[in-house]
Symmetry: D2
């Protein structure tokens, strides 16, 4: 590759890697360890896993002189790549006090040094640079998870520890909500540019959409409180059958992190426990809650195709927005060969697509064709609600 | 309504109600009771529930002289209608030895008599006839469940009891499999006729389809055995992530009812344990297995829209066929008002659409726009596999 | 053996076998099937299992001409004898509709005929007669379980079916409660007679007892209601740690079968739902509840040794009485060789001894050295409370 | 109290408190956090809880000037004292990264300072000194748990971290095993001295013992390996019914921490993974395993009374030794008033008594009347096997 391309890649690599470490600065050593739920990963694990990704998919394959940092780290920091050998059970990530945090940072440094040498050498072919870009995007995904996982870890402790004073994931100012209408017809969906995109955004294809309208603004805390006050969480008619089971089994009565203290709604933020701000877009709701809220309003969630078509005209980027689309392959999707093929395709069942991005999304890691996906029950990402209706 | 319409409705009602009882003839009294898994219902429950449907939604509302058979039966035989009051937990259906089977048949007779009187009277308005049609279709759905539930109940007993000699759900003759190709373009999807259809088949709308090919024939037992022999159940790369967890947690190694006896594959049929017939379409596979099989072949499952477009040109009706489409509302879907609105809409999450019909489907209860749906894990319906590919 | 001994054995055998069938007379065919909880067995299973016991341990071994009724019945009706080959999982007993009830009665008849022939022949040696006695006692134990299991099965149905009008397990008249005192010293514990007793009652041995007093009468419903009204179920200080977990996990608020209807305590009896009789001894309490009640009174449960010493002087036979003794072997206990050795010894951990007998105990199946045992959590036997204190 | 008594108490207090901190020296900050199983507590929790004990039961009550360190610590570090208010769920102890380890040490220092001031003042009455003694003994119990919990935490990590080179809990040299016989008769059981003892060791009372023999030495690793090689873990006849379920559910095949590597038995020790030493007493076996081993030998475990009588004549102190006695109150036992009453009494059900002490037991924290107790399934304490037989 051209020296220029390598230099750009290296600079990008370093910027993103440094950002990960910057996110960890406010943490105590102890904070890197716990895993209160299987879907949450400890900060230490994110640090190790993102480094392992570069070691496993790039350094081991393209850097002949590279000496693996520690043979057991593959086992410790592999996430779900079945083709990459054994891995510790996901539920056990929080039980590993060793390697110590300092050693994981040492591992990062070791990988960074090797990556730097590689990216400064002729071995950095186009294939390598492409994998580096994938690794960087992978790390950016984990940056977002790192923040939301840390919020979960800190936010479930009795002392409600502050991550960083003034740090907020849920900022947002009041927006006037308008309906934007779209006429029936064919839309082009999927990524078409030249930059990086995930395999699940391809290939670009036509979708026929009935006429619909979509709201310019997200649902606010104030609006969601009205749903609560109207008994929304107690009315089975508003809920998907699965959602109703979830509400009752989990005893859900409000978005995640909300606590009613002396009749006032408070929520945990990364700067501590605060009074819920009515004009902010509601955050930390499950797809079940988003669906029920829409039902209560006599409206519905948009499909991911409606969202993508409307993206140019709406404000987005504050919340990941639940769509009612199932996470499925686009026509002609084929997962890549090899372990990288396990990245997206095997999760294409029983998950919902989210569109947009959130305040926890890393800079530069969003675009209108980006397809995020989670199971309907999850609340711990910065998820919000946008409403739509069929015309 | 015209006398003619009433007479037709009554005749249809009686034919379907009698068919339910005919299905029960081979059963011992004891067979009506067990519920080995929550997703299976006892025969007694199906008998009571289908009668309750007519009592609850028609007789109580439109027949002023009607005297409810037994006040507690609402509680016992309500399935999932949250608006209709309390109901016993689904998992407890198999613990109810009372009312005795004879009493449930008495209840059926009582309801039938009242329905006959109603349908012979002026009270049988168009609204009533419409609800009768819904009740009949509802009963036909339960007829199919009754057969497949009884297969599950009998097929999980050490004595492998025979339901009826010669009765087979899995008949099928060898078919030569060809590819049928369809060009990219707009298809019309959803019900458009004048007869009965469910709310989830409406409204008819346009869908844009990329070019694809679909197989004329279903995957056969012989073909599926090759997947087994090739280690398909042991290869994580072929499976959806959820499917791989399911295979390992449930220790699945073959379709439901298959037993390897001295190296030969046998399966339980309603006429007893028999040797697997290689040319029959494979039956009793989960969506996970169907998906993995397609992946192993380098192909995929069709979407429900592809299936519906191709339906005129393919042989169908032997198996319910898994599609890779998620069960979601068509554009403009609104669930009906009242408890009948709980029929379909609230299940539109995390289920897969099946298209076609099976050997257990009641006569007259199939059409190309019919959307059946189950969770990906279920094997106990007569489910099969049809393959497709993007062109 | 002497003809006389054989005749007596046969007469006893027939009397007990007939009694089992008499207990089943009020049941509908359907009632023989359900198993709502793993610790409850269906009536059909009790019928088959007690017959299997005679077939397995006597007819197969001592009756050369005996032809096994059905090879699969060993598998179906073995309970927990690991040495006797495979057995169906206990939790699946309620899923077996076949063999039908009539066939199980046929099996009983077949075994009875063969047993009669054996007991009328020279093959009926002393060893055989001893095993017959064991089999009879075994059947008597299952008679009691059959009654209490049927109460559980019928008593957990919304229709509260009547087993037999006027049939009561919980009769009892008011007794004036007095303290009986016993001085410190050595007591002889264990069976010493010549009749039948279980291995766990032997060998007779000395136990040193501190001085204690024990109540002549059992705790009544009225007394227990005072505990409820005083918040006994809400006060952690009164409970064993395990018991407190049990109360909260199971949401226990009263003895089993008690229902508060419009402020009045009702209970399910085998003759239907009735108002709780205040003067009857309380019934269907767990060991945890018995212990907590005693704690609330500032007293304690007796040990099984205190109970046995006092047995001559107290009224007993209405309830199985919880002691605070753990079920453990007497000094010198050795389990018998062979599968019969699995009868008692292997359960000698984490169970509590109950002493006495109940209204559901078969005639002739009680004695003061009899050691019944259940886990602390169980309420479904006719269990009661007697109080003691250390002097 | 006399100045002397206060000075002694303070010196003892300081010695024990310092010992706790010495035990923590080899740990990394990260090691203080994880809780891999509910029965294991993080080191941080032990540090906080033992300090809380002094704060809660002594400083708050007897030191008027004492200012509570942090109001929320009661909630965080209460273990099971229901009377002391809310407490975090036991399973969540490992999710608390805050307070940070340094703050917990600060809390310890704060409490120590206040305790020192109190013990140097006139407020240190006899009642206070008695509670201090209880607190010290409580802390010693937690010292042992801290070691065995850390072994569990470190020993379940893929890197098998070393706690301290050369540190061993399982030392032991070969002993020749002899039978010591005791004649039938009355023994005096329970504490009778003037020093500290727990309420469960009182009151001293007479027990009648049949003649028995007990082995001088513990069962060795070599002997236990013979049991493994003889298929002991695969033979249901050797096991208690509950034990057999445990073996199969947990897939137990050897004592805890044993790993078969290339045909050689290794075990994790606090100084790393090592080859099992044949002559050491076997360690980390459950009561179920101890019982099965004894059964395999045709012998049995001693009762706690036999053990106590024999204690003068046997070597003990290497392992906590499983007895077959259930943990039950001695005659006349009454739990103390107040929260301290929750110390022992409420656990007196479904646990087994262990006698002796182990290499992890703190200096001075053992005596022949000491009654330790655990559920039958636990292996993570330094538990061993001594055999007995009835004469």
């Amino acid at each position: 590759m051209s020296t220029n391309a390598r230099e750009e890649s290296l600079a990008y690599y370093q910027r993103v890697r440094n950002y990960t470490q910057a996110l960890c600065e406010p943490l105590e050593t102890e904070d890197f360890i716990p895993q209160p739920e299987p879907f949450v990963s400890p900060a230490k694990w994110h640090l190790g896993h993102t480094s392992w990704f570069f070691e496993q998919f790039i350094l081991r394959r393209f850097s002949p002189a590279y000496k693996v940092y520690h043979e057991d780290f593959s086992f410790l920091f592999n996430s779900y790549y079945n083709q990459m050998g054994k891995r510790i059970l996901r539920v056990n990530r929080g039980n590993m006090s060793r390697p110590a945090v300092a050693q994981v940072f040492d591992y990062r440094g070791y990988v960074d040094e090797a990556m730097t040498r590689l990216l400064e050498s002729d071995l950095a072919t186009a294939e390598v640079l492409e994998l580096v870009t994938l690794g960087i995007n992978h790390e950016q995904q984990h940056q977002e998870l790192l923040i939301t996982d840390m919020k979960y870890i800190l936010g479930h402790q009795p002392l409600f520890p502050v991550y960083r004073d003034g740090y907020r994931l849920v900022d947002g100012t009041a927006q006037h909500s308008d309906w934007l209408s779209f006429e029936e017809g064919i839309a082009e969906i999927g990524y078409s540019g030249k930059g990086f995109s995930y395999d699940n955004e391809s290939k670009r294809h036509k979708v026929y959409l009935s006429g619909y309208a979509i709201q310019n603004a997200l649902v606010s805390n104030k609006e969601f409180m009205e749903f609560i006050e109207d008994g929304g969480y107690q009315n089975p008619v508003l809920w998907l059958d699965e959602g109703w089971t979830w509400v009752n089994d989990q005893k859900v009565q409000a978005p995640l992190y909300w606590h009613q203290v002396d009749g006032v709604w408070k929520y945990y933020t990364l700067s501590g426990l605060e009074t819920v701000q009515p004009n902010e877009p509601v955050c930390h709701v499950s797809h079940y809650e988003a669906w029920a809220y829409a039902e209560w309003r006599g409206l519905r969630l948009p499909t991911e195709f409606e969202w993508e078509q409307a993206a140019e005209k709406i404000n987005w980027g504050d919340r990941w927005e639940w769509t009612d689309s199932a996470y499925l392959p686009y026509p002609g999707f084929r997962k890549p060969e090899g372990a990288v093929g396990e990245y997206n395709g095997k999760f294409m069942v029983n998950q919902k697509v989210l569109r947009g991005a959130s305040r926890a999304t890393s800079p530069g890691h969003s675009r209108k064709t980006y397809r995020n996906f989670f199971q309907s029950k999850h609340q711990w990402q910065c998820t919000g609600i946008r409403l739509a209706k069929t015309l």
